[in-house]
Subunit: 342 residues, 2 copies
């Protein structure tokens, strides 16, 4: 039975502070492309696209929050991916089926079918299933529509606004008739926000020494919905600029994941004065809305009413650099790693 | 027409840091006990009981949050009170009616009838209308039942647990079949929590060098509902101990009101991992529930199923000391100032 090379990205050890490329090793392992006997609930996958997502840093910390669970040093990273079935022990999956779900950072993976979903619509780029058509799209949809309870004409602020999730929140908000302002960290991203994603206004937060003043300029009447992606000082400034009964769906806090001591948020009393609902969510709780979401978003993609910008890194060996680039904001749009083109 | 002495508590100037007795003056003013002609929407009141509430400190800060509005130096403090109508320009109020609502810190007040409510049930202590039967009782009720969405058997933590609001939250939670732990700052208060209010457990937070460890001891399985009265470091420790899908209704943050630079809260990312709903509220938004609340709580008081502990300061001249005592935790239970016994 043929042994194949199986290149892998291995976590060397737990990380503290900012992750570096050297925290991961690229190794050439081998794999037998055959399911072990009696494997009814597993599939052997050829991985095509892997997803780089901010939350992955949290799993690189020893004794991290139990809800996410830590990765294991010496083993490959895990995360969302799009893959092709090589062999299946489960009747619902057949050879050559395309699937998306949790897989490993390697060329071939033997994974359980739990959390694996068949791709039914392939008239759109397959990599979309780890972005707009996967958990990230659902995150934007649930955070904005379910937790944000938006009304037409309301004022929406999105931080990390060109990110995998942020770019969608901005476009959903515009389609819903809201006034939308986004911030990002480079001129290129700010241009994208205005010219590609249709944000009403956009600014480079690195050029704003006083974020509170910037927000007052863009939201003289205050913010109804803040889609929280970053946390820390940004959140503190936003709290001063929320409107009465504002909503803050909390999708992530990327600015905090690499700090050994997170920044203190000092303006939380605003949550009382302004009757703010500040609510965290983890998208796996909302998977029951996935079919409804697909029915909403697929036509918008096909009609060109929603665009999705990806930042493609070619080759598994470039995965570590792509992943750590998230934390310095090097990526423009959704960061994808191509392991193989089908 | 008789001029009467009208003793007043005047705010001398805006306060920064902890308030002191010397921030207020006791002055003997005079008042004519007669309504000005054509006053249709005002009443002349003889004040009986005045309420000392933590939020009052916020109004002593210049340029305070617009939602609460600052007091005016040179004028009496304002706040909740129970009063007797001396003369009325409004057909709904008659001489000798008992009312509760917003009044001034003085013996006699000329105030608008907006926000003034007639006392219909006087088989209970009148001072209860600035406590359990007023906005504070409603605060405990709304925060716990409406925002907290409690289920029987859930774990509830109350900080400032013997306070005007806290003592009620604990009792409501016990009546609802929850496990309830409270913290307070003296042995006397901790004894009250256990022996009078029926908390399952209680502890003195000043004797716990590691609040996180204390909460782990009392809540090995985590906290479902944290009724937030204090903010700051307590909130930070609580966030580490919340259960999945926990709720934090935010009623107040007394530990922060006197700080020129509030403490930073660093564990907010827990709100994501644990899908926590952290929601501020201001009780005036829920006044439509007041009648429903009275129907709920009056029978409980009459049957002795709910108790209410008050800390009574006799005489308006002792008002300033009573008020500032809130911020060092000197009061035991609801702090009331008696201006006159009917």
């Amino acid at each position: 039975m043929a042994e194949m090379r199986n290149k892998q990205v291995i976590l060397k050890d737990y990380v503290s502070g900012f992750p570096k490329e050297s925290d991961m090793n690229i190794v050439d392992s081998t794999i037998t492309l055959k399911l072990p006997q009696g494997s009814n609930d597993v599939v052997l996958l050829k991985n095509l696209y892997l997803s780089c997502d901010p939350y992955m840093r949290i799993r690189m910390t020893k004794d991290t929050t139990a809800e996410l669970g830590a990765l294991t040093p010496g083993f490959p990273l895990t995360g969302f991916g799009v893959s092709k079935v090589v062999e299946s022990g489960h009747p619902d999956y057949k050879k050559d089926d395309l699937v998306w779900g949790i897989t490993n950072w390697e060329e071939y993976s033997l994974v359980p079918t739990t959390g694996m979903y068949k791709i039914e619509h392939n008239d759109v780029p397959l990599s979309y299933y780890i972005g707009i058509l996967g958990m990230l799209g659902l995150t934007a949809y649930v955070g904005f529509f379910e937790l944000g309870s938006p009304k037409k004409g309301e004022n929406v602020y999105v931080s990390a606004a060109s990110s995998a999730v942020g770019q969608l929140v901005g476009q959903f908000a515009k389609l819903h008739g809201c006034y939308v302002v986004g911030s990002a960290g480079t001129k290129e991203k700010v241009d994208l926000l205005k010219n590609k994603f249709g944000y009403d206004e956009a600014f480079n937060y690195k050029e704003e020494p006083d974020l509170n003043a910037a927000l007052k300029r863009y939201f003289p009447e205050g913010i109804d919905i803040y889609f929280e992606n970053v946390g820390g000082k940004t959140l503190d400034a936003v709290l001063l600029n929320m409107k009465l009964h504002g909503r803050i769906p909390v999708s992530g806090m990327i600015s905090q994941y690499n700090l050994t001591q997170p920044e203190g948020v000092t303006n939380l009393a605003q949550i009382i004065y302004k009757r703010i609902r500040f609510e965290g969510f983890v998208i796996s709780d909302y998977f029951h809305l996935y079919t409804k979401f697909l029915e909403f978003v697929l036509p918008l993609i096909r009609e060109g009413k929603i665009v999705y910008v990806e930042d493609i890194a070619e080759g598994l060996e470039n995965g570590p650099a792509a992943l750590i680039g998230l934390y310095s904001g090097r990526n423009v749009g959704k960061q994808v790693v191509v392991v193989a083109h089908e």
